[in-house]
């Protein structure tokens, strides 16, 4: 009898745990597969020619297959664009390092945002000014796509 109760109690705990795990990682309201990869809420940091800038966006993989973003390029503004991440070192310093690729699992969103993964635009040929629109080529495993991202001012 006692054992049954303990068993039920543990079972309850497990269910509770699972329920939580299902709701937590998906703040994105719709899980519907749109059948395509979407780049949402993208923007480029305003910057000066020869200095550094960064781009950010959310990748939503609405296809049934997992995909990977391998690289990004933009002939228009720089011949050196890298995928980076900011991170905290073991001794508490902030640093950034190149990331080989960004996995984008089916049905999920991956957010690139300040302080995390970012697209590093190294020494752009020209000023990136508020209101400009810049064309990027995104190189996914599934193929390449051209996407325009707006430049936004640092306020």
């Amino acid at each position: 009898m006692k054992l049954t109760f303990t068993f039920l109690f543990i079972l309850g705990l497990i269910f509770q745990g699972c329920g939580k795990a299902q709701t937590e990682p998906e703040p994105e309201s719709q899980n519907t597969l749109t059948g395509k990869i979407e780049i949402r809420d993208g923007w480029v940091r305003e910057g000066k020619s020869g200095m550094m800038s960064a781009a950010y966006f959310t990748i939503y993989n609405g296809t049934t297959k997992s995909d990977t973003l391998w690289s990004i390029s933009s002939e228009d503004i720089s011949d050196d664009i890298q995928i980076h991440e900011s991170y905290k070192t073991e001794d508490g310093l902030m640093g950034m390092r190149p990331v080989g690729a960004v996995p984008t699992p089916s049905g999920q969103s991956v957010e690139l945002k300040p302080g995390g993964i970012h697209i590093m635009i190294i020494q752009p040929y020209r000023d990136l000014s508020d209101g400009d629109s810049i064309e990027f080529e995104f190189n996914f495993s599934s193929g390449d796509t051209l996407i325009m991202l707006p430049v936004q001012k640092n306020q």
């Binding site: 940091r45 305003e46 910057g47 000066k48 200095m51 550094m52 800038s53 960064a54 011949d79 050196d80 890298q82 980076h84 900011s86 070192t89 508490g92 310093l93 902030m94 640093g95 950034m96 390092r97 190149p98 300040p114 302080g115 970012h118 590093m120 635009i121 190294i122 020494q123 001012k153 640092n154 306020q155």
Partner: protein, 192 residues
């Protein structure tokens, strides 16, 4: 039991209010020859004495975390309505690349106005400044890009500090976190 808890918290609160902010580092007797984004010589912190200083540390080749630090400082300045008794200063820990003209462009991209300076200087002097406020930085990675440019990135402390009118560091927070401006704006309510 509950009452005892309230009593203790209240006494703690009173004690902490009375003692005033504690001095973390005293820069009052220090003097560094630096140069600002307009190539004007600056003696730090002497030239800013008599005013509060909100101090951050950046390098301009960092387009991700350092803008968060700069933007946090901007938020503090805006929230406090661009006060004249508070000077905002960003000091670079990468003086080799961050010359006055580079800092001037950096300042321009953030559309900063009055009472906001970026400082650089001789690398030896900059390193003394950083030591005096326990800010660390080191070259983390040197790479040659696809097109053959040699660039390096740095690991660095992430801090914003407040100096009182006598150039004493009395507040120190993480620099890039989103909650920092509110904390410092709150602190200024009791400081001024």
């Amino acid at each position: 039991m509950k009452q005892l808890f309230y009593f203790l918290s209240l006494s703690l609160l009173i004690i902490s209010c009375q003692s005033g902010p504690k001095v973390i580092d005293d820069l009052g007797d220090k003097s560094f020859q630096l140069i600002n984004q307009d190539s004007v010589s600056v003696t730090f912190p002497d030239d800013y004495q008599g005013r509060f200083v909100v101090l951050g540390f950046i390098y301009t080749n960092c387009p991700d975390v350092c803008p968060l630090i700069t933007q946090n400082m901007i938020k503090i300045q805006k929230e406090l309505n661009n006060p004249d008794d508070i000077q905002f200063i960003g000091i670079t820990f990468d003086p080799e690349r961050d010359t006055p003209s580079v800092l001037s462009k950096y300042k321009e991209t953030f559309k900063l106005g009055k009472n906001f300076d970026f400082l650089t200087g001789d690398p030896a002097v900059i390193s003394e400044v950083m030591d005096s406020v326990r800010v660390r930085s080191q070259v983390s990675l040197t790479t040659t890009t696809d097109s053959g440019k040699e660039i390096y990135f740095m690991n660095h402390s992430d801090k914003i500090m407040v100096l009182d009118k006598k150039s004493r560091v009395i507040i120190e927070y993480g620099g890039s976190m989103p909650g920092i401006p509110n904390l410092i704006v709150e602190d200024f309510k009791t400081l001024r």
